[in-house]
């Protein structure tokens, strides 16, 4: 079968008077050796653009290795480790005969395509760099790439950051993807972003078991693949269904860079990368694709050992002028807050009544604009409360409620004015502190005397860290370690270690009564009479009502906690080394502008069938933020410990 008559292809026009060969023209086989020699003479296989197109990175012991783990990105069997062999195979491939377009049931097999069509970005780059004479190497028609090109119709590229979502471990640090903008405007001048294509790199997972997920995700057992879908799916999923604000960073790429990006994303669509939750994740490979599209960009070099979505946003800003516009798309919950912000107490009563399926007599007496505002807010409230259940069909009653309210609203027959929501004053992730944190300090305790403190954290944010760019409601920390060297003992010892520590403060408000909760997995030094200062493995959870007021300036939570400690020396349950404990916990936090934070916690534990039978711990930490560093003062009291410490904290990207 013949492909479409003239196909679209990236053409690098190497001479002013270039000539495009006739349709169906054959490549000139004598031209291939010339090109191979030229590529060799210029050491093109070590050119940084070429290395980026193949995602080759220097190996520790010399040589190269591509991060791509699927075979689809290579024409040479040695391609993964040999950029030069791959370059020769690519040039060879460009001269291949035959139609080569997969059809019918093999449509989904890109390896059957002609190499020019599989690697349009390589073709464009080589044609430009080697000034390929397109009369002697005629570009082919590539119907499938062309269809992709038209579907995308990219006139802009935007990096989208989807905010932190604690209810899904995969998204606890946020998510990053690309929106390839068509830059179409409606007749009224509004942006039509919803019909743009979103391209993201995501793990193809096969488990919903959180522990298995964490394990497989951390150690690269999942495959990560690039995929494209209309942006509206992303908006519905993230902004509506998961209620996550979206931050959009439009990049100043020129036409050539955009074409390279689209061409290269097409190339990446054929392969997969082993997915590592912490390092080679969504952010990493999206940035890698951007670097391949524009070899002047420096993005990956700005990332730390852990690649977090927020850090990849900061990496954009490390390239001056790269971000040309920042936009904010409000989540369902943010929209609800905006709709209720200006309503009076009686209006809010009416919103509540409507959202609970009751009628509001007072509402019928009010003016039309007021009724519109109240019902519009009630609709958003129903969606925030029941959106999931309505969509999954899990709650037919909520569906009936929503439908009644929608019909009530439509019967008013007046359009709602547009809802304009400014970005939150805390700013986007680009304003956030560096996600890694190192600390050096000293403490003095009654039991141990003075000691040196060393601590580190891989990611991301706790309740006393600088608040700009983060949600005031969320603590999420990954791999935290605190060590001490006591003056008397001269031995390094572990104070605290966390694999993960999460706190989600959810204010009990008029419309939403979600509980605050916390989770910690790690190890801690036991500071009561359960053992002589042994280190115990720890699993702790807690939940209860919370308050977040004045934009986060004052927060508090009262929780019912349960924890499990385990250590060989511990006098735990019936003399075993396992010690469960339950009891209340309290958390208070004050923020004074962006500069000062004060966090206090307290807990009391009943320890059934263990010795001792109870334990407690109180702590207060004050932090002063001075740009990239902070100073922390801490005090702690427990049955067998009372200490104060002063630590200098340094935040790094």
């Amino acid at each position: 079968m013949r492909p479409a008559r003239v196909a679209l292809l990236a053409l690098a026009i190497s001479t002013p008077g270039f000539a495009l060969a006739e349709e169906g023209a054959k490549p000139d086989p004598t031209y291939l050796p010339e090109l191979l020699a030229a590529a060799r003479n210029r050491s093109l296989s070590e050119d940084r653009s070429w290395l980026r197109l193949g995602h080759w990175r220097k190996r520790l012991l010399g040589g190269w290795e591509s991060e791509a783990d699927g075979p689809g990105l290579f024409l040479s069997p040695q391609g993964k480790r040999d950029p030069a062999a791959e370059l020769e195979a690519t040039l060879n491939g460009f001269f291949a005969e035959g139609d080569g377009a997969p059809v019918g049931p093999k449509l989904g097999d890109p390896s059957l395509e002609h190499p020019q069509c599989r690697f349009p970005a390589r073709f464009a780059w080589l044609a430009a760099t080697l000034r390929i004479d397109l009369a002697r190497l005629p570009p082919r028609s590539c119907p499938r790439f062309e269809a992709f090109w038209r579907r995308v119709s990219a006139r802009s590229a935007t990096l989208v950051f989807s905010s932190y979502y604690l209810n899904n471990p995969a998204s606890a640090f946020g998510h990053i993807f690309l929106r390839l903008g068509k830059e179409e405007l409606a007749s009224g001048g509004e942006r039509l972003d919803l019909i743009d294509q979103a391209v993201d790199f995501a793990a193809v997972t096969n488990t919903s078991n959180a522990i298995l997920y964490a394990f497989e995700g951390l150690f690269g057992f999942f495959r990560g693949e690039f995929s494209a879908r209309p942006y509206f799916y992303k908006v519905r999923e993230y902004a509506d269904y998961e209620s996550r604000d979206l931050w959009e960073y439009e990049l100043s790429l020129d036409e050539r860079q955009l074409a390279m990006l689209v061409g290269h994303l097409w190339e990446l669509g054929q392969t997969w990368f082993d997915y590592y939750y912490v390092t080679e994740n969504c952010s990493y490979h999206v940035l890698g694709a951007l670097e391949a599209a524009d070899s002047n960009l420096e993005l990956l070099s700005h990332l730390g050992p852990a690649t977090l979505p927020a850090d990849s946003v900061k990496a954009l800003f490390a390239n001056p002028g790269l971000v040309r516009a920042v936009r904010f798309r409000a989540s369902a919950r943010t929209q609800l807050a905006a709709r209720t912000a200006g309503l009076s107490g009686t209006d809010l009563d009416a919103v509540q009544r409507l959202a609970e399926g009751r009628d509001s007599a007072a509402l019928d007496a009010t003016s039309t604009p007021e009724r519109v505002r109240v019902i519009d807010a009630a609709l958003d409230l129903v969606d925030v409360r029941h959106g999931r259940d309505i969509v999954t069909g899990a709650d037919p009653a909520a569906d009936v409620l929503r439908q009644r309210l929608l019909e009530k609203r439509s019967a008013i027959g007046v359009p709602s004015p547009p809802l304009v929501i400014p970005p939150p004053s805390a700013g986007g992730p680009e304003r956030g502190h560096g996600s890694m944190r190192f600390g050096l300090g000293a403490m003095t305790s009654r039991e141990e005397g003075s000691a040196l403190l060393v601590e580190g954290r891989l990611a991301l944010h706790d309740l006393a860290d600088p608040p700009a760019g983060f949600s005031p409601r969320t603590q999420i920390e990954f791999f935290k370690l605190r060590l001490s060297v006591a003056d008397r003992r001269r031995a390094l010892r572990l104070e605290e270690a966390s694999v993960v520590e999460v706190t989600s403060l959810n204010p009990i408000e008029r419309f939403e009564r979600r509980i605050s909760w916390k989770l910690r997995v790690g190890a801690t030094r036991v500071v009561d009479d359960g053992c002589h200062g042994c280190v115990a493995g720890m699993l702790a959870v807690g939940g209860g009502p919370g308050i977040v007021s004045a934009g986060g300036a004052f927060s508090a939570a009262l929780t019912a906690d349960a924890e499990l400690l385990a250590a060989p020396e511990l006098s735990g349950l019936s003399g075993s080394g396992v010690r469960p404990g339950v009891g209340p916990g309290v958390l208070l936090r004050l923020l004074g502008t962006d500069r000062v934070a004060l966090v206090g916690t307290g807990s009391w534990r009943w320890l059934p069938l263990a010795s001792p039978r109870m334990s407690y711990e109180l702590s207060v930490e004050a932090r002063v933020h001075l740009g990239a560093i902070s100073v922390a003062a801490r005090w702690r009291k427990a049955p067998r410990a009372e200490d104060v410490g002063l630590v200098l904290l340094i935040y790094r990207g």
């Binding site: 179409e184 519905r236 439509s410």
Partner: protein, 165 residues
């Protein structure tokens, strides 16, 4: 540098290429059910829509087949025309219903552009007025909703929705 001059990338489009939605074979109509081009109908079929979308995006069950960049199963132009409108309505069902009840909003503006309607405000007014008939609730299959809406936009000549003729 002369680079800028000779690194121009030209993309040549031919008038000879059939529009994807006019050429069933080009997008495997027989293979992918109702619409061929309809990402929406591929995913949704007669299922509950969002769950499938979420499955597609969050755990990738459908992701590789449906949204693969080079696997060729969704390479139609979805941003305009009847198929585009259908895909859009089905993928935005809940949000569009809410905007329709309110008579305005982003999904109405976008749908109007996809369907080529003259004035999104007029579309909003019509969808609002006919809301109860067009969006009878979640019990109604999603393709019924998209059919309702497209039929309404077509039959109301004052809306002049030129791309879904």
């Amino acid at each position: 540098m002369r680079r800028a001059r000779w690194m121009v990338i030209a993309f040549i489009l031919s008038a000879g290429i059939a529009r994807a939605d006019e050429n069933p074979a080009a997008h495997g109509k027989s293979t992918y059910g109702l619409a061929g081009c309809g990402l929406g109908s591929m995913i949704f079929g007669d299922q509950k829509g969002w769950i499938q979308v979420l499955a597609a995006t969050t755990n990738g069950t459908f992701g590789t087949q449906t949204f693969g960049i080079s696997s060729g199963t969704s390479n139609c132009v979805e941003s305009s025309g009847t198929q585009g409108a259908r895909t859009f309505i089905e993928g935005n069902r809940e949000a569009l219903a809410k905007d329709a009840a309110r008579g305005s909003g982003e999904t109405i503006i976008t749908l109007s552009a996809v369907a080529g309607c003259k004035d999104a405000r007029a579309v909003g007014a019509v969808l609002q007025k006919r809301f109860a008939q067009l969006f009878p609730g979640e019990k109604t299959p999603v393709d019924q909703v998209s059919q309702n809406v497209i039929k309404e936009l077509r039959s109301n000549s004052s809306l002049a929705c030129g791309k879904i003729g």
